[in-house]
């Protein structure tokens, strides 16, 4: 597509097409959108983050999609979010207020090697593509690679499993890049990592049954967010801490971000209606993105209005 207006948001796209979209969006909105390369993947692909900002030195709200490469509806939703933010700024009062106070950071393809692999070799690939010494099995689960209960229950030491944690915390460059960026930024106040397909909104912890000191607040905000989401198409979400809602998972993204002091840390599991799983038909991309945006807006607004 030559512009983000002619881009087809209702189909799945390759990594190169997504990068072209990112460049177009930046070129079309030079005063609002910029691209930051926070690092490179194992195979050398750029780890691009879109920064929506109207002023210097602002607190920020982070969103990432596609850390599990086969969850295609998440990258597709990320593209839609990017266009929505650029389009609504100056038109939608709440989003305009948000961007006049905080930045939004959006990493659309968080695991580019895996994503390219899903297009070229194995549509069901979930992990990164880094080799594991002593094993023929490739890749690490980037959502078990964070320094938060790393190596504990709910992750695997077997490189041939889908939940292989990697040789050490932050061993994956895709994870390390975010870790370094979050630390160097130092002012990220909200963080959402987006997955599919269990229809859940989750918050820390996953590696321990201990409740965070902010459990009640996160629970209330999550309830408001899933109610907003359901208001559009009636999609039913559950919500709660990771360990209480799904299972014990060690080394997860948002446990690390919470422990870094990012109080408003959440993880989404976007929709499926129990029919398609990771092969969600493309005609559900826009409805999924639309309803998720309503929930995201609630999370962003709460962060904006409760900076700490």
């Amino acid at each position: 597509a030559r512009s983000t207006d002619s881009f087809n948001y209702a189909t799945y796209h390759t990594f190169d097409e997504i990068n072209a979209f990112i460049d177009n969006l930046v070129n079309e909105n030079p005063n609002l959108v910029s691209k930051i390369q926070i690092g490179s993947s194992y195979e050398g692909r750029p780890l691009n983050v879109l920064k929506f900002s109207t002023g210097p030195n602002r607190p920020a709200f982070w969103i990432d999609t596609g850390i599990h490469s086969r969850e295609w509806v998440t990258q597709a939703s990320g593209i839609w979010f990017a266009k929505k933010i650029a389009t609504d700024y100056g038109k939608d009062a709440s989003l305009t207020n948000t961007l006049n106070n905080i930045d939004i950071l959006l990493e659309i393809v968080t695991n580019p090697d895996g994503y390219v692999y899903t297009h070229k070799s194995d549509r069901m690939w979930r992990k990164t593509r880094s080799p594991n010494s002593g094993s023929l099995c490739v890749g690490t689960d980037p959502n078990r690679n964070w320094d938060a209960g790393f190596g504990g229950p709910g992750s695997s030491s077997n490189p041939c499993t889908e939940t292989y944690r990697g040789r050490a915390a932050h061993s994956e460059p895709e994870v390390k890049a975010i870790v370094d960026f979050v630390k160097s930024h130092g002012n990220i106040k909200g963080f959402v990592s987006i997955h599919s397909y269990s229809q859940m909104l989750l918050f820390p912890y996953g590696y321990t049954t201990a409740r965070t000191p902010d459990h009640n607040e996160l629970n209330t905000v999550s309830r408001n967010a899933v109610n907003a989401l359901a208001s559009l198409y009636g999609t039913s979400y559950t919500y709660g801490s990771i360990i209480a809602t799904i299972y014990q998972a060690s080394g997860g993204t948002i446990d690390w971000t919470y422990n870094q002091g990012i109080k408003y840390s959440y993880s989404f599991e976007l929709r499926d209606t129990g029919r398609y799983g990771f092969a969600l038909p493309a005609n559900q991309i826009i409805p999924t993105a639309e309803e998720t945006w309503l929930a995201l807006t609630k999370l962003i607004e709460h962060t904006r209005d409760n900076l700490y």
Binding site: A1, H13, S121, R123, C160, A279, P281, A282
Partner: protein, 96 residues
Amino acid sequence: MENYSGQQVLRIFPTDEDQVNLVRALEDLEHLQIDFWTSPTKVLLPIDIRVSFRNLQSVKVYLESNNIQYSIMIHDVQSLLDEEQNEMRRNRATEN
């Protein structure tokens, strides 16, 4: 591209903790090469597993012999992926 012809995704409905554990035990049987799309967690939460054509019968027999209810969520994974590819091609052609 990896071919998923004949592979199915089964949605399993454990009715008690023993059944959850029986499904969890499948994770350790590496030769069955089961891909857990959603993991065994707690009673009444469905579990989705992708099973290769070669192991489909063994897995179904295991579930049925333990009285574990399941349904076929996706009958042929490859046909869904083919449709996905066709749609992407169609969209590209339209854009061009």
